[in-house]
Protein backbone atom coordinates (compact mmCIF):
# COMPACT_ATOMS: atom_id res chain seq x y z
CA UNK A 1 0.00 0.00 0.00
CA UNK A 2 1.40 3.35 -0.92
CA UNK A 3 -0.29 6.71 -0.58
CA UNK A 4 0.33 10.07 -2.15
CA UNK A 5 -0.94 13.26 -0.49
CA UNK A 6 -1.23 16.35 -2.68
CA UNK A 7 -1.03 19.29 -0.35
CA UNK A 8 0.36 22.77 -0.78
CA UNK A 9 -0.69 26.08 0.66
CA UNK A 10 -3.27 24.59 3.03
CA UNK A 11 -0.75 22.72 5.12
CA UNK A 12 3.02 22.49 5.16
CA UNK A 13 4.66 19.34 3.83
CA UNK A 14 6.37 18.99 7.19
CA UNK A 15 3.07 18.85 9.08
CA UNK A 16 1.52 16.55 6.51
CA UNK A 17 4.48 14.19 6.87
CA UNK A 18 4.03 14.16 10.63
CA UNK A 19 0.40 13.21 10.20
CA UNK A 20 1.15 10.37 7.78
CA UNK A 21 4.86 9.46 7.80
CA UNK A 22 4.48 6.56 5.35
CA UNK A 23 2.78 8.64 2.68
CA UNK A 24 4.53 10.50 -0.11
CA UNK A 25 3.84 14.21 0.23
CA UNK A 26 3.49 15.87 -3.17
CA UNK A 27 2.82 19.47 -4.26
CA UNK A 28 -0.72 20.46 -5.34
CA UNK A 29 -2.10 18.08 -7.93
CA UNK A 30 -2.12 19.18 -11.55
CA UNK A 31 -3.50 17.73 -14.74
CA UNK A 32 -1.97 14.35 -15.52
CA UNK A 33 -0.52 13.58 -12.10
CA UNK A 34 -2.77 10.57 -11.64
CA UNK A 35 -1.44 9.14 -14.92
CA UNK A 36 2.22 9.82 -14.27
CA UNK A 37 2.54 7.57 -11.24
CA UNK A 38 0.79 4.81 -9.41
CA UNK A 39 -0.53 4.65 -5.87
CA UNK A 40 -3.12 2.66 -4.01
CA UNK A 41 -4.42 5.75 -2.24
CA UNK A 42 -4.55 9.33 -3.45
CA UNK A 43 -5.34 12.16 -1.07
CA UNK A 44 -6.15 15.40 -2.86
CA UNK A 45 -6.25 18.55 -0.76
CA UNK A 46 -4.68 21.32 -2.84
CA UNK A 47 -5.00 21.76 -6.58
CA UNK A 48 -2.62 23.53 -8.94
CA UNK A 49 -2.92 24.82 -12.48
CA UNK A 50 -3.96 23.25 -14.79
CA UNK A 51 -6.28 21.35 -12.51
CA UNK A 52 -6.98 17.68 -13.21
CA UNK A 53 -10.12 16.77 -15.12
CA UNK A 54 -12.71 14.78 -13.18
CA UNK A 55 -12.16 12.02 -15.72
CA UNK A 56 -8.63 11.54 -14.44
CA UNK A 57 -10.01 10.69 -11.03
CA UNK A 58 -12.48 8.28 -12.60
CA UNK A 59 -9.66 6.55 -14.47
CA UNK A 60 -7.78 6.09 -11.22
CA UNK A 61 -10.91 4.69 -9.66
CA UNK A 62 -11.19 2.24 -12.53
CA UNK A 63 -7.66 1.07 -11.76
CA UNK A 64 -8.91 0.23 -8.29
CA UNK A 65 -7.25 3.12 -6.54
CA UNK A 66 -8.75 4.84 -3.52
CA UNK A 67 -9.25 8.59 -3.83
CA UNK A 68 -9.91 10.90 -0.91
CA UNK A 69 -10.59 14.55 -1.66
CA UNK A 70 -11.11 17.34 0.81
CA UNK A 71 -10.06 20.84 1.70
CA UNK A 72 -9.70 23.00 -1.39
CA UNK A 73 -10.40 19.89 -3.51
CA UNK A 74 -13.69 19.15 -1.77
CA UNK A 75 -15.73 19.79 -4.91
CA UNK A 76 -14.14 16.77 -6.59
CA UNK A 77 -15.48 14.58 -3.81
CA UNK A 78 -18.91 16.17 -4.03
CA UNK A 79 -19.14 15.74 -7.80
CA UNK A 80 -17.71 12.24 -7.90
CA UNK A 81 -19.11 10.89 -4.67
CA UNK A 82 -21.38 8.49 -6.53
CA UNK A 83 -18.31 7.02 -8.19
CA UNK A 84 -16.50 6.21 -4.99
CA UNK A 85 -14.40 9.33 -4.45
CA UNK A 86 -14.41 9.85 -0.71
CA UNK A 87 -14.74 13.22 0.95
CA UNK A 88 -13.90 14.26 4.47
CA UNK A 89 -13.71 17.47 6.42
CA UNK A 90 -15.74 20.58 7.06
CA UNK A 91 -15.21 22.02 3.61
CA UNK A 92 -16.47 18.82 2.06
CA UNK A 93 -19.56 18.91 4.24
CA UNK A 94 -20.17 22.54 3.40
CA UNK A 95 -19.61 21.99 -0.31
CA UNK A 96 -21.93 19.01 -0.24
CA UNK A 97 -24.60 21.15 1.37
CA UNK A 98 -24.14 23.62 -1.46
CA UNK A 99 -22.76 26.35 0.74
CA UNK A 100 -19.43 26.88 -0.97
CA UNK A 101 -18.57 28.01 -4.45
CA UNK A 102 -15.54 27.45 -6.63
CA UNK A 103 -14.25 30.96 -6.13
CA UNK A 104 -14.27 30.54 -2.36
CA UNK A 105 -12.56 27.18 -2.30
CA UNK A 106 -9.75 27.75 -4.75
CA UNK A 107 -6.51 29.56 -4.06
CA UNK A 108 -6.19 32.75 -6.07
CA UNK A 109 -3.51 32.30 -8.70
CA UNK A 110 -2.22 35.75 -7.94
CA UNK A 111 -1.34 34.80 -4.37
CA UNK A 112 1.43 32.34 -3.73
CA UNK A 113 3.20 33.60 -0.65
CA UNK A 114 3.06 31.89 2.72
CA UNK A 115 1.14 34.70 4.35
CA UNK A 116 -1.72 34.39 1.90
CA UNK A 117 -5.21 33.70 3.09
CA UNK A 118 -7.72 31.90 0.93
CA UNK A 119 -11.16 33.30 0.20
CA UNK A 120 -12.70 30.48 2.23
CA UNK A 121 -10.48 31.31 5.21
CA UNK A 122 -11.50 34.93 4.85
CA UNK A 123 -15.13 33.90 4.71
CA UNK A 124 -14.71 31.69 7.75
CA UNK A 125 -13.00 34.45 9.74
CA UNK A 126 -15.65 36.97 8.76
CA UNK A 127 -18.43 34.64 9.80
CA UNK A 128 -16.67 34.23 13.13
CA UNK A 129 -16.19 38.00 13.43
CA UNK A 130 -19.92 38.42 12.85
CA UNK A 131 -20.64 35.77 15.45
CA UNK A 132 -22.23 33.38 12.94
Amino acid sequence: MNAVVFVGPSLSAHTARELWPEAEIAPPIVEGDLFRRRATTWVIIDVGVPAPWPEELLRARARGETIVAGGAAALYAVELRAHGVLGFGELYQRARAGLERDDLLTWPREIDHADAITPIDLDDAMRAARGK
Binding site: P50, P54, L58, G64, G70, H83, L86, L91, T118
Partner: protein
Protein backbone atom coordinates in the same frame (compact mmCIF):
# COMPACT_ATOMS: atom_id res chain seq x y z
CA UNK B 1 -4.95 41.97 2.66
CA UNK B 2 -8.71 42.18 2.39
CA UNK B 3 -8.51 44.72 -0.39
CA UNK B 4 -6.35 42.37 -2.44
CA UNK B 5 -9.04 39.72 -2.25
CA UNK B 6 -11.81 42.15 -2.96
CA UNK B 7 -10.17 43.13 -6.20
CA UNK B 8 -9.76 39.54 -7.29
CA UNK B 9 -12.78 37.70 -6.08
CA UNK B 10 -16.44 38.54 -6.60
CA UNK B 11 -17.32 36.31 -3.64
CA UNK B 12 -15.05 38.34 -1.39
CA UNK B 13 -16.80 41.51 -2.50
CA UNK B 14 -20.10 40.05 -1.39
CA UNK B 15 -18.48 39.20 1.92
CA UNK B 16 -17.47 42.77 2.42
CA UNK B 17 -21.02 43.88 1.76
CA UNK B 18 -22.35 41.34 4.23
CA UNK B 19 -19.89 42.37 6.86
CA UNK B 20 -20.42 46.07 6.24
CA UNK B 21 -17.08 46.92 7.82
CA UNK B 22 -15.96 50.50 7.80
CA UNK B 23 -12.38 51.24 6.78
CA UNK B 24 -11.60 52.07 10.40
CA UNK B 25 -12.55 48.55 11.46
CA UNK B 26 -10.34 46.88 8.90
CA UNK B 27 -7.14 46.75 10.94
CA UNK B 28 -8.85 45.13 13.92
CA UNK B 29 -10.66 42.70 11.66
CA UNK B 30 -7.50 41.73 9.83
CA UNK B 31 -5.79 41.09 13.15
CA UNK B 32 -8.64 38.79 14.14
CA UNK B 33 -8.45 36.97 10.84
CA UNK B 34 -4.72 36.44 11.18
CA UNK B 35 -5.08 35.14 14.72
CA UNK B 36 -7.78 32.64 13.82
CA UNK B 37 -6.59 29.11 12.99
CA UNK B 38 -7.21 28.69 9.31
CA UNK B 39 -10.07 26.52 8.21
CA UNK B 40 -8.06 25.16 5.29
CA UNK B 41 -5.23 24.04 7.57
CA UNK B 42 -7.58 22.42 10.07
CA UNK B 43 -9.42 20.71 7.27
CA UNK B 44 -6.28 19.47 5.54
CA UNK B 45 -5.05 17.87 8.75
CA UNK B 46 -8.41 16.21 9.29
CA UNK B 47 -8.55 14.86 5.73
CA UNK B 48 -5.06 13.37 5.97
CA UNK B 49 -5.86 11.77 9.32
CA UNK B 50 -9.11 10.24 8.09
CA UNK B 51 -7.50 9.04 4.86
CA UNK B 52 -4.75 7.36 6.81
CA UNK B 53 -7.33 5.58 8.94
CA UNK B 54 -9.37 4.21 6.06
CA UNK B 55 -6.64 3.56 3.50
CA UNK B 56 -5.49 0.08 4.61
CA UNK B 57 -8.98 -1.37 4.72
CA UNK B 58 -10.80 0.51 2.01
CA UNK B 59 -11.83 -1.98 -0.65
CA UNK B 60 -12.31 -0.43 -4.07
CA UNK B 61 -14.44 -2.12 -6.71
CA UNK B 62 -13.01 -1.99 -10.21
CA UNK B 63 -15.10 -0.53 -13.00
CA UNK B 64 -14.95 -1.85 -16.55
CA UNK B 65 -13.31 0.39 -19.13
CA UNK B 66 -16.48 0.52 -21.18
CA UNK B 67 -18.68 1.62 -18.32
CA UNK B 68 -16.01 4.07 -17.28
CA UNK B 69 -16.01 5.69 -20.70
CA UNK B 70 -19.74 6.21 -20.49
CA UNK B 71 -19.36 7.49 -16.98
CA UNK B 72 -16.60 9.92 -17.91
CA UNK B 73 -18.70 11.29 -20.75
CA UNK B 74 -21.60 11.95 -18.42
CA UNK B 75 -19.37 13.55 -15.82
CA UNK B 76 -17.74 15.81 -18.40
CA UNK B 77 -21.12 17.02 -19.59
CA UNK B 78 -22.51 17.49 -16.12
CA UNK B 79 -19.61 19.14 -14.36
CA UNK B 80 -18.70 21.60 -17.12
CA UNK B 81 -15.22 22.07 -15.73
CA UNK B 82 -16.55 22.91 -12.31
CA UNK B 83 -13.65 21.06 -10.75
CA UNK B 84 -11.15 22.94 -12.86
CA UNK B 85 -12.06 26.55 -12.18
CA UNK B 86 -8.49 27.80 -12.44
CA UNK B 87 -8.02 26.58 -15.97
Amino acid sequence: MIEAHLEMRPAARSLEKALDASPADRAALEAKIRERPRLTARDAALVITRAREIAPSHAVPHASTQSLDRLAHRVRRRTRYRSAPMR
